[in-house]
Symmetry: C2
């Protein structure tokens, strides 16, 4: 079996999960190099990795370069992807910078693995919110054609990186330490000082903003869902809009999705499709929870039901680990397809 | 000015807020009696109330009886409302038991205060999730006619009563006390033992179930939104469906609502209507948060935007204190209308 020289760029929440996924899935590694801003040794579970400072490094002989590219480390692929490609590597970029660029395949293996072979050196990994929705809806779209979907997300703090996730923890600890009461009426629910993870306190709160606002009052995260879906499904006639909301959960995004299909479909037909959909674990009479889906690979779907008033319209609830299937795992799965 | 003999039945999360609202709004009280299962003295802020055991009590001379009727104390109005009515009181019931009964007005003063005078002794207070949605959409429905809405809720734990809210607190404390690390990778996010507030752990989790499931996989909470809206707006041709989700927030429900109006409407027109809507505080370029709306009386609306692909369809985000406007305050406002 051929073995590959792989580089991982970035060791934040997503980079660590890439290292974990490569190991867990026995990716055929010859040499593994890990890059970040500064050199250091890191420990992931029981393994040590020597991290090289990316600036000034040479990238020759690398077959596949996986850029973690979380929000907190934006720009790494803009600065370095081309250099890896010039040295012969195929770059798989989890960041946002190249996703919508013409000629760059944007790939979820379960949905459009055929696009991988069209790459010109760079393959983009979609946004976490998009990935899980499109895995959940993928089989349905293929069989029945999606006409429309309306998505409301419940997004985990780790989606913004490790620091905001720790911010939720720090805020929570502060509130527990400053509240010696169990009297509901006298609980102080507001932290002292500035928020520690996001623009507003996230502990015991929800924030309906992920990314920046455009003139149309949609956020960048909400437009990612629309535009990435159009590209991945190869169909820009699907009417999509979203409300993306941060919730005080560490890992795993949840989404309530209302969707309408073009072909006539019964609930039983949708259920049958979901049961057979690649990458989906379907709950017929229960529902997945973010806490239970953390560290799982699949997209979990439940609460399927039909609109009581309109034909061919349905709801589902889907949950996936935003760091795994929403980011690291999807990138490693692309790498696996690449070497097939 | 005439003064009234008022009874409050139930001293859980909602009952306490009824006592607060009566005081804060200077309700013209002659005599105030407070009932619960057992007699005791309770303190609310700086006021003491003598609670009478409801069983075996006499209810003569009471003008208005406010039943708090939260989930935790279901049945009080079923057992006692008729006795109060027979003794001459008008009952305002926050519980679910009579809301959809023919001849019982179901009232949000800002929306359908004219129904109050049709009562035959009992007036029902809608569900918290319904109230804030219908205040937010009330002016829009009146001016443009709602054709459809799709609602996803982020509901606070106190909506289930004080015990579940304290359960969130206890679970959170346990996790803080058992985690001496700040290392995100090694945070233990799961409590030991049984969940303390809901069917599943709610701390750092979200649960897409409020109420029991029907055969159609909708919950009772989701159907309340549909059926109560049809009754309150007096229009059962509006296509409505909902996904109701519990989030680790103590107080104030948030809702992402996608809606379609019958008449042609621009975003500017919807904005103008929201600014003029009774009971609504409109955020034009920001958004309300549950933590900030707690202990406020109005329904806060923000994130208004149009569907980029479909005419006459829009999103809004609304937040209200589920114990106040969602329950106690609305009941007291009905009482105020009653004595006008």
């Amino acid at each position: 079996m051929k073995k590959y020289n792989v580089a991982v760029i970035g060791v934040g929440a997503v980079g660590i999960e890439i290292l974990r996924s490569l190991k867990a899935r026995n990716f055929p590694l010859d040499n593994l190099r890990v890059f970040a801003r500064s050199s250091r040794e890191i420990k992931v579970d029981n393994d040590s990795y020597q991290v090289e400072a990316i600036e000034g490094s040479e990238f020759s002989g690398i077959d596949i370069a996986l850029f973690a590219g979380t929000e907190g480390e934006k720009g790494a692929s803009v600065l370095y992807a081309q250099k890896f490609i010039e040295q012969g590597a195929v770059v798989i970029d989890n960041g946002n910078d190249f996703r919508l660029q013409k000629g760059v395949p944007l790939v979820i293996p379960e949905v459009n693995r055929d696009k991988i072979k069209t790459h010109k050196g760079l393959i983009a990994n979609p946004n976490c919110t998009t990935i899980q929705a499109l895995v959940a809806l993928g089989g349905i779209h293929k069989a029945l054609g999606l006409k429309k979907f309306i998505l409301t997300s419940f997004q985990a703090t780790s989606g913004a990186g490790k620091k905001p996730a720790i911010g939720l923890w720090e805020e929570t600890k502060q509130l527990v330490e400053n509240n010696k009461t169990n009297d509901f009426d006298h609980l102080n629910k507001e932290i002292k000082g500035e928020p520690l993870g996001f623009s507003h306190q996230i502990a015991f709160n929800v924030i309906p903003q992920i990314g920046g606002f455009g003139d149309d009052n949609y956020t960048s995260e909400e437009w990612k869902v629309v535009k990435e879906t159009h590209k991945i499904y190869g169909d820009d006639t699907i009417n999509i809009s979203a409300t993306c909301v941060r919730v005080p959960v560490f890992t795993s995004h949840s989404e309530a999705i209302y969707f309408t299909v073009r072909k006539k479909a019964t609930l039983a037909r949708i259920e049958e499709i979901l049961k057979a959909s690649e990458g989906v674990v379907y709950f017929s009479d229960s529902f997945p929870l973010p806490l239970e889906v953390e560290a799982k690979d699949e997209v979990y779907v439940g609460r399927l039901r039909r609109d009581p008033f309109e034909e061919n319209s349905f709801w589902l609830w889907c949950v996936a680990d935003n760091l795994r299937k929403g980011a690291a795992l999807n990138a490693v799965q692309i790498a696996e397809e690449l070497i097939k």
